[in-house]
Each structure stands twice: as C-alpha cells, then as structure tokens.
C-alpha cells in the first residue's frame, strides 16, 4: 500500500474534524467575537498585542513544533503502524487539538493568564506548588531525553556532528557581525545560510566520530554556555538561521515524499507487549507531542492567548495548529513504516554493547531518500536533515535549561520569602543562576547517559501528565461556570489513566533495570500525579455541585 494513502486519510480526517468537531467545540465554548479579547482590553504594546490569525498561527506553531512530533511517532511504530497511526489521528483530533484549543480559550477568559495561574485560581495554592515541582522534574527529563537522542544521532550520523559544531560557530559569527557590527541583515542572512550549506559539506567530508558519552558531555557544556550567554550572541542568530533550514526541510521533504511515493513495509500490528512495554499505556506516552502535548498549554496560555485578535481565531490557531503538528507526525511515521521490520530494528533496537542509532537517524535516512528524488545526494540529505532536527532539539535543550534554572531559583526564593530567611546560605546557593543551571544540567546529564528507550517514555509520561493537568484546569473552570465539560473531562481521565499506568510500569522497569535516578524521578511524578488527581477530583466534584457561575 502506498504511504500516501495514509497521508491522504490523515489530512482528510483532520479537515473534516476541523470543520465539524472544531465547530462543535467552538459552540460549546460559546466563542463570541463581540466579546473583546485581552489583546485589546489589556493592549500594552508589549505582551498584549492583537495579531492577525495567520501570523499568530505561524508564531504559535513555531513555538509548539519541535523534534518531539518526529521522535515520538518513529519510536511508537514499534507497536505497528496501525496503532501508531490511529493514535496520531484520533488522539490529535479528540485530545491534542481539544487540549490546545480549550487552553487558549480558558486563558482568554482569564485575561490571558497562563495555565499555572488558572490552576492556582481554580485549584488553589497547593495545586500551583505541586505544579511547579512537577515542572522542574519535567524540564530535567526534557533535557535528558533530547540530549540522549541528539547524542545517538551524532554517533549514527557523525557528519551531522561536525556540521552542528560548525553551525554553532557560524551562529556566533553571525551574531557578532550583524548585531554587534551592524552588517546588513539581508546580506548577512545570505552569507549565513551559504555558510550553513558549507558546514554540511565539511561535515560530509570530515565526519567527527565521538562516543555517545562524549557527545552528551559536549552538548551539556554547550547548553550551560548557551543558557548563560547573551541571546544575541548565540541563541537568536542560531534560531534565525535554523528557520531557513526548517523551511528547506519541510518543503523538500513534502515534495520529495510525493515524488518518492513510499510503500508501507513495516508490520501493521507489532503486538500488545513489545520491547517498549505494553501498548496501553506506552504507545500513548511514546507518541507524545504527535497527538497531545502538555507543553502546548504553556505556550497557548502564556503567549498566544495574549495576542488573539478575536475569540473565533482560537479555533484556527489552537485546534488547527495542533492538527498541523499531527500532520508532521504522520510524515515522521511514514519515514519509519516505509522500512522493513529488519531495517527498522537496525535503527531502533540496541544491540549488545551498542546504542541504537535512534529515531532522528531513521527520520533523516527516510527524508534523505525523499530528497534524493529531488537530486540531492543521499549523504548530504541525511546530514542536512539530522542537522535540522538536532538543531531544533538543541533549541529545546537551551529553553528547558533556562526554564529549569528559573523554576529552581524561584523555589528557593519563595521558600526563603515564606520563612523570612532571604540571606541564608541555602537561599544564596539556590538562587545563584550558575548553581541553578549546573544542578539542572548535572541531574539531566546523569539521566541522559542511560538508554533512550528508558528515558523517552518517562519524558512522554511527564508531558502527558502536564496535558492532563491542563485539561483538568479547563474541566474545573467549565464546571464552575455550570457548562458541559465532557469533551475535556473524559480526555483528562484517559490521560491520567495513561500517565499513572505508564509511570507505574516504568518505575518497575527502571528499578529492575538499575536506572536509579530515572526511577526516583518517575516515583516523584507518580506521587505528584496521584495527589493532583485526588485533589482535582474533589475540586471537580465541588465545582460541579456548586455550579456557580464565575465571571471569566
């Protein structure tokens, strides 16, 4: 069967869902364009600024899309392409897009406040504190998971390792030349992009073969420097040049996919119990951002909601944006399922004493095949794709490190403020930015040395738990307003069930496997999830019984 059939099914399903289920949700949420959004009522020209829907969709999508919708589906294909495909499509329609859409609307109705504030308002200070602890653990997992994935990629595609190091140098050069010395932006961009392609060529000619541990150490060192250095020197020019690579990759991959027209070779159903674990719940936490992602609620509520011009735009941006990400997830899945089981295992299953190349290497190989149809040499295409995906993973690493530092520092600041001990040695230690960064990175680095197949599901579980919390906050808000909330409540129950079951299984597996740190983190998340679930059930029941209307 042609994989394009799956592509077509997914796109048609998403389109129909947008027109029908999306419209149903919009009616249930009572979107009303005559109700003025915070972007207008609180317009400050800084954070609250109305933006046209297509522009805002671009910003929103750029913020939510990362390496995860590629890594997750490729990994989940181990269960067979049917289960993975069904969850991406159905999960995207009934869970992920609903989660993103309702998060934006809830935030709009709470003056553009983030989901954390909504949780605090509807579930109290305890809920907020637990949420913050959970946030730091999740960020540590993000760093560990992505560092591990990228290290495996550079081991499997050493050409991309060389190109990636050169990319960092080119970004710094660009930052100094354009920002510091006022070199014209357009000419600088042309030169910068040309240098990137030169870096790919150098990478192909001089691949850098290092061990996985060496790459992890290098990346963590890079992340420490990048998270402390001024953004105009590295982060901004890197992200700016990255965007050109991404446009090239998306354009080339989509066109190449249609010309290549791959056939589905992988097993349709890989069994309920695989090397990753049981299909329920592991399939769901593995696909992660391809179907639903808790991080989206932070983006949706923290930034996007403040720029929504009119309420009806929330459907286009929230619901539509997630469906676009699910489409990307289907493309990623196709690069996996066009391989035979043997070839797939060669990428994804570790052999004795040797880590598997991993999902990014698999995705890069698939896309390189598509690009070859456009006349791009295979090795160049593979290096290019690996570079782009790893570059986005490094962006996530950088952001997660900065946020992890912020959460770590904030914990000590608030604890000290509560006790009136702002000058204690512990407070000074905990609020020091270098200390906060190093603690976050060292814990993550320790975990990252483990196996990818152990880390990714725990990260996925944390991400899905965050989604469950966001759906919970929305459910409670709707219940307090006396509105029907089944379309968020039942997905929330499902996500809690998935997360708790997954964490329970992963704790057992990691304890048996001697992955101590991962076990401790998973146990902490499990306890947190149980407390929040009980807390939430009580709050939900009370809110439903009260049924009082709360002005939003």
């Amino acid at each position: 069967m042609s994989a394009l059939v799956l592509m077509a099914i997914a796109i048609i399903a998403f389109f129909i869902a947008y027109k029908t289920y999306g419209t149903f949700l919009a009616k249930e949420l009572e979107l009303d364009d005559s109700r003025i959004t915070p972007a207008h009522t609180m317009n400050d020209g800084v954070d609250y600024v109305p933006a046209k829907a297509p522009v805002l969709l671009g910003h929103h999508f750029a913020s939510i899309a990362g390496a995860a919708p590629i890594i997750g589906p490729v990994t989940a294909a181990l269960f067979g392409w049917i289960p993975a495909f069904l969850w991406i499509v159905l999960g995207g329609i009934f869970f992920g897009a609903v989660h993103d859409f309702t998060s934006i609307v809830a935030s709009i109705r709470h003056k553009g406040k983030s989901i954390g504030v909504i949780i605090e308002k509807n579930m109290g200070d305890t809920g907020k504190k637990l949420f913050n602890i959970f946030a730091w653990l999740t960020l540590v997992l993000v760093i560990a998971a992505f560092a591990n994935v990228v290290a495996n990629t550079f081991v499997a595609v050493p050409e991309a390792g060389t190109a990636s190091l050169l990319f960092i140098a080119i970004a710094v050069f660009y930052g100094f030349v354009v920002y510091r010395n006022n070199f014209p932006v357009i000419i600088g961009t042309v030169i910068g992009v040309a240098l990137l392609f030169l870096a790919i060529w150098v990478g192909v000619m001089f691949p850098l073969a290092l061990s996985k541990e060496a790459w992890i150490m290098l990346m963590l060192a890079y992340v420490v420097v990048a998270s402390l250095a001024p953004v105009w020197i590295l982060l901004q020019p890197r992200d700016y040049l990255n965007s050109f690579l991404l446009y090239g990759l998306i354009g080339g991959a989509v066109i190449g996919l249609f010309i290549y027209n791959p056939t589905v070779e992988l097993t349709a159903y890989g069994g309920f119990n695989t090397k990753l674990g049981w299909m329920f719940p592991v399939l769901f936490v593995t696909v992660a951002c391809g179907a639903i992602s808790g991080f989206h609620s932070l983006v949706a509520s923290g930034t996007t909601a403040k720029q929504i011009d009119k309420e009806s735009d929330a459907k286009f941006i929230g619901y539509g944006g997630m469906l676009i990400e699910s489409t990307l997830a289907v493309v990623a899945l196709i690069t996996a399922i066009m391989l035979s089981q043997v070839d797939y295992n060669a990428f994804m299953v570790a052999e004795a004493g040797k880590a598997a190349p991993g999902p990014v290497a698999l995705f890069s190989t698939g896309v390189a095949g598509f690009l070859e149809k456009l006349g791009i040499p295979f090795t160049t295409g593979k290096t290019f794709t690996s570079l782009v995906v790893s570059a986005f993973a490094l962006t996530t690493l950088d952001t997660a490190t900065r946020l992890g530092r912020y959460v770590f520092q904030e914990y000590f600041e608030k604890a000290a403020a509560a006790k009136g001990k702002s000058e204690s040695a512990m407070t000074k230690f905990g609020t020091n930015p270098i200390v906060a960064t190093l603690v976050t990175v060292v814990v993550s680095g320790w975990m990252a040395m483990g196996s990818y197949s152990a880390i990714w599901p725990v990260f996925g579980a944390a991400n899905q738990l965050l989604a469950a919390l966001a759906l919970l906050a929305v459910s409670v808000w709707l219940a307090k307003l006396g509105k029907k909330n089944g379309y968020v409540k039942y997905p929330m129950f499902f996500m809690f069930a998935v997360t708790l079951t997954a964490l329970g299984q992963l704790i057992y597996k990691n304890v048996i496997g001697g992955q101590i740190l991962l076990s401790v983190v998973a146990i902490a998340l499990f306890i947190l999830a149980v407390i929040l679930a009980i807390f939430a059930t009580k709050t939900l029941k009370q809110a439903t019984n009260d049924g009082k209307g709360i002005s939003a």
Binding site: D47, K113, S114, I115, G116, V117, F176, Y179, R180, N182, L228, A229, P230, V231, W232, I233, L235, L298, V299, S301, G302, T303, T399, R402, L403, Y406, V407, E410
Partner: protein, 181 residues
C-alpha cells in the same frame, strides 16, 4: 527655521517613543533637551515571570544649541558624550547596547569642522561585549541650509534630525524605527 521651532518639531518627533526632559544640567553641561529610550525584548514561557531570555537596548539623546562652534567646543562636546557612557550605561548580563546620541544645533556649521565631525567615532565594549556595548552618534544640525552632518554611526538616523523632512525620508524613518523594534 529658528532654533525654537526646531526644538518644538524635534520634541514632537521624539515624544512618541522617548521620555523627555528639558533644560537640565548633566555633568556640568546645560542640556536643552534630554531624551531616553528603553527597549526591552523578552521571551516568556508560561507566566511572565518565567523569562527565557531578555535583551535591553537603550538610547540617550542630548540636544544642545550653539550660537557658534569651533574645534575646542566640538571636542568638549565629544568628551561629554564619551563621559555620558560612564554615567548612564549600566552593563549587565541582559544589556545588549546603549547609544549616546549628541545633537548640536546651529545656524551655520563651519565647513572646516565637517570632516572632524564625520571622522568621529567612539565605541566601548563591556566584558568583551558579553555585557553589551555602547556607541556614540554625533549629529550637527545646520538649520540655515536644512542639512545634517553626522559621524558614520549616526548616518542611520541622520534624516530624522533634518529640520524639514521630505515625504520619502519620513517614510524611511518610520520604517527604520519599526525595523529596529
């Protein structure tokens, strides 16, 4: 155009984005008009307090009229602008750049001083640019001939300080401001 009219026009142009003070003493120099611009770019994730990164850019504009100008007076003003860096610029991890803009207004700019004005440049890095940098713009406005003589750094904003701006230049100034924003 007379000096008073020019000041009114300049204040009107600056007040959109700058905080303005008039007739103040700075470092023993009487400054007719002082304008300050602060631009802060931030990225948050979730709540506003969760700042992923932050960049600060500043501009300090010192405007003074002169009845006449000689080499010594020009030199003194240049030294004043350099010393303003010490007084106003507060380099830190989030500071990216500060621009000191000195604007001298007079009826007729002596021709022999124009090359000196154009050649003037001053830049200072803080912690090898890791805490940003400061640069000085020098602008001399000739009211009589509707000209602006500037150093290289000030070329990008020179037309903003013209007494009479042609429509095309007005559009370019707006574009320049929004592009910088």
């Amino acid at each position: 155009m007379d000096t008073h009219s020019y000041y009114n026009i300049l204040e009107e142009r600056l007040k959109m984005n700058y905080d303005i003070e008039k007739n103040i003493m700075i470092d023993r120099l009487s400054v007719d008009l002082f304008a300050k611009l602060e631009m802060k770019h931030e990225k948050h994730f979730g709540p506003k307090s969760a700042t992923v990164w932050r960049i600060e850019n500043y501009e300090y504009v010192f405007v003074k009229s002169f009845e006449k100008l000689d080499n010594k007076m020009l030199e003194n003003f240049q030294e004043f602008l350099k010393s303003a860096i010490k007084q106003f610029v507060k380099p830190n991890g989030e500071h990216m750049s500060s621009t000191i803009t000195g604007v001298m207004i007079m009826d007729n700019v002596p021709a022999e001083l124009e090359p000196i004005i154009r050649r003037f440049q001053f830049r200072r890095n803080f912690a090898f640019s890791l805490k940003g940098w400061a640069e000085v713009r020098l602008i001399v406005v000739d009211l009589h001939s509707n000209r602006v003589i500037s150093n290289k750094k000030a070329k990008e904003v020179a037309s903003f300080y013209l007494p009479v701006i042609e429509k095309k230049e007005e559009k370019q100034n707006k574009l320049l401001f929004w592009r910088k924003k």
